[in-house]
Symmetry: C2
Subunit: 223 residues, 2 copies
DNA sequence: ACCTGAACACCGTTCAAGT
DNA sequence: ACCTGAACACCGTTCAAGT
């Protein structure tokens, strides 16, 4: 039976999960499908189109964890009077969902940052974040900016988080770069290090808390 | 006269500025230096080492715009009683300096995000941000997180900003993705669009303002 | 110390031609 | 509709050998 477009995307996703973004070549995808390289160009215009599809899938996988604001078009699956978390909690939940989705795949953040041309799922995500910010009481141009700010932060955070985990850039015997740490030239970093640095999870949570507090404290009540 | 390591980095930087990150190949660098490919591997271990050097240069070019906190080791060039902006203004200035440095080169954000293994300049930048946050009154583990948060945000923001400017991902006749915008499925985005979206500069300033306010409002006065 | 020549093992992309 | 064969124009990296 013939290979279909979805098969190509699936194979690419498996390859990504197994060996990361820079092992992901059209030729490897073809191999995995038992087909010659040229064949995949019948299903897909570009490697870039392929990566954009992958990126939008990753974004899509977070949508279940991103609350739908009230103005949304989707019919509520729970009764409308179900307990609705306050906007701050919803923004926090959304941010964690986005991070988790990126962390679920090697180089997930790099993929999304590099190729999430506004795919359908990215648009839905942006819409929801903007909607939640509005429900938090932000006026319209600011609400869009707030959603964008949150997304930029999450992307930036996970990007460096995943690069730290990359064995290519990791010296295993030193928790922080050995190469001439110059301890007295970096007094604050050294002090922070002595105090004990938080792990990624708590650093992320703290950053999100900072941001969400900023967003919601900027709000004036809507009605 | 022989090529020196710095010449290789310089040539790479020129190439980056002329044609962006994915036109930057070891062979093109060699051509520009009038030398064969193999030669550049005498000066540089890896393409990655080269990119890390470029990234740290870009970061370094922002340091002049990043205030040195009082705990810093550098001797002050201005008299110590010179007017010192409040921490919020210093954080804001730092963020803008980082963004400007990235914007000064095509794919500057991608370069820094992908290859700023803690180079010396990146460490100095992190140290200063942490220091300013401390001066703003944040206790130590939190100050480090705050600096990191700011950096992640700036990186994430400029990353998407520079990708939007990339002609590869840009449909010139529509300001927002034409492909089936599904206007009623994205009510908040549509509303924001109708209201008129802010340009990159003001969106960035608004995001930074949000963040800086959050950071400084978390502070308790230090003395 | 610095470079050449030449190779190795890859890439993405295109396209006539086949079925 | 879907794929092969084969080519084109590239890559990063290594390494003996030259000077």
């Amino acid at each position: 039976m013939p290979v279909r477009r979805a098969d190509v995307i699936d194979a690419a996703m498996e390859l990504l999960d197994e060996s990361g973004l820079d092992q992901l070549s059209t030729r490897r995808i073809a191999d995995r499908l038992g087909v010659r390289v040229g064949a995949i160009y019948w299903h897909v215009k570009d490697k870039d189109e392929l990566l954009a599809e992958l990126a939008d899938r990753v974004v899509g996988s977070c949508l279940d964890g991103v609350p739908v604001p009230d103005g949304g078009a989707e019919p509520p699956t729970a009764p409308p009077s179900a307990p609705v978390a306050d906007p701050a909690a919803r923004l926090t939940a959304a941010a964690h969902a986005v991070r988790d989705a990126m962390l679920a795949h090697p180089d997930g953040a790099a993929l999304v940052a590099g190729h999430a041309v506004p795919g359908p799922n990215s648009l839905v995500l942006a819409d929801r974040l903007c909607g939640i910010a509005r429900e938090a009481g932000l006026p319209l141009p600011l609400a869009a900016v707030a959603g964008d700010t949150l997304l930029s932060y999450v992307t930036g955070f996970v990007l460096q988080e995943q690069r730290r985990g990359d064995p290519l850039h990791h010296h295993p015997n030193t928790s922080v770069p050995a190469p001439g740490f110059a301890p007295d030239r970096l007094p604050h970093l050294a002090a922070a290090l002595a105090e004990g640095l938080p792990d990624d999870d708590t650093a992320f949570a703290a950053g999100i808390d900072l941001l969400v507090t900023a967003v919601t404290s900027r709000a004036r009540p809507r009605r």
